[in-house]
């Protein structure tokens, strides 16, 4: 059964006899904090492992801006693909699934062999060559933002691994102790436990899957410290 915001708040309250539910901090305050923590940790996790919190977003061409707006729920874009109905300026259909290349505005002649867009102000625009898309759907593969809980009964984001709920718990416990005041010893102890949980979370993301087979690049069991799995 998935952990809810209520489960998490209860666990955090239970870390100290000084905590009183509804008095040390309101539930609404802690629910918002859980959302902030999830946002931050999932954003950080995307930089360690771009697949784990991955989402697939389909964006329609917006004629009013002349491009495809960046989805609000994506924290890091990893791939762009052609969706349904994508066509070039010459009315040639780009098959769904074709890789769309993002090129810089000042190098719009690069990668002329592949359909391309450039991004400006969170909108992907056609790069302007005959082979570039000008209509249809753009599929954005990237890491997504956390789903923030709104009530105490809401579950924690389903992509958040249950084994790493303690990371959130210790952050809540630190917050409660800091807010209560004069509990420096608890803050220090909880911070040490939070840091341990954080290290375990990052270690998990670095090697959460060992099945990926690649022609090049690293994705194996023991990536070297300087290498980020793709």
């Amino acid at each position: 059964m998935a952990t809810t915001a209520n489960d998490l708040i209860r666990a955090a309250i239970a870390t100290s006899r000084h905590n009183v539910r509804g008095e040390t901090a309101s539930d609404a305050e802690l629910i918002a904090l859980i959302g902030d923590l999830l946002d931050g940790y999932m954003d950080e996790g995307a930089r360690v492992n771009r697949r784990f919190f991955g989402g697939r977003f389909t964006v329609g061409f917006d004629a009013t801006v002349g491009g495809w707006p960046r989805p609000a729920g994506v924290t890091m874009v990893a791939h762009l693909l052609a969706g349904e109905g994508m066509q070039t300026s010459g009315s040639v259909t780009i098959p769904p699934g074709t890789e769309i290349v993002e090129i810089p505005i000042d190098q719009r002649e690069t990668e002329r062999g592949r359909p391309a867009v450039y991004q400006w102000g969170q909108v992907w625009y056609p790069a302007g060559r005959e082979s570039d898309p000008v209509a249809g759907e753009l599929v954005v593969l990237g890491s997504r933002r956390a789903t923030r809980p709104a009530t105490v009964d809401d579950p924690i984001d389903p992509l958040w691994p249950e084994a790493h709920v303690p990371l959130l718990k210790w952050d809540l416990a630190i917050y409660l102790a800091q807010k209560d005041g004069e509990r420096e010893a608890e803050v220090a102890a909880f911070t040490a436990l939070r840091d341990q949980a954080h290290a375990r979370y990052l270690a998990f993301l670095q090697a959460e899957s060992i099945t990926e087979v690649r022609d090049y690049g690293f994705g194996g069991v023991f990536p070297s410290p300087g290498v980020t799995p793709r």
Partner: protein, 218 residues
Amino acid sequence: MTFEEVRRAALARLMEYGDRWPQGRSVAYRRIGVRQQQLYAMAARANPEYAGVCAIGTLVDGAANFAAMEPPVLRPEAITRVEIHDPGESDYEVGQRITIVTADDPDGLAPRAFLRHRVLVGVGNELAGVAQIKVWYPYIPEPARPDEDGSREVEIPDPYSELLVIDLARDYARKTLSLAPDVRAAIIRMQDEDEAPLLAEWIAHVRGYAPLETRFAR
């Protein structure tokens, strides 16, 4: 093996050294194309017959422009023979050799011609009336155009296509800023060491491709 497959193989060659390499593919395709031209240029000197082709050129006012020859002319690396293909109104015979001479030493057997900037021009009026000439030469492959998608097959046969892979891997190493200088030098040295014997085998393959019987040393 396609241009894209060469690129992927080059990246696979480098994967022990990191995962940050130049991303643009069209630049890699261009490098592959240029290296393939260099290898065919070497082959043309080792054995002009190996990549030998012929093209027919029509004479206009006693001159034939190679750029207008048919079939669409493969890029010539070195002309080995020019002959009469269609004598037209001249007295020459089909297959009669045209002597290529230089402007500062034009002596030779008729019909003679200068070959300057890819245009064949008869000496005096020695090609007057000739309708077509035939040019024999080893070609070099076309480089990659900027709009190619990497699906074109490379022309150099296996296993020598690995020479393209080695060269691109070395090129990547040269251009990757994040590599420590000693690591970069080690990668380049390793590619050089892999390339040398294979390059020698490529030239040996080109020379020994067919049992040539020639009266002149090559």
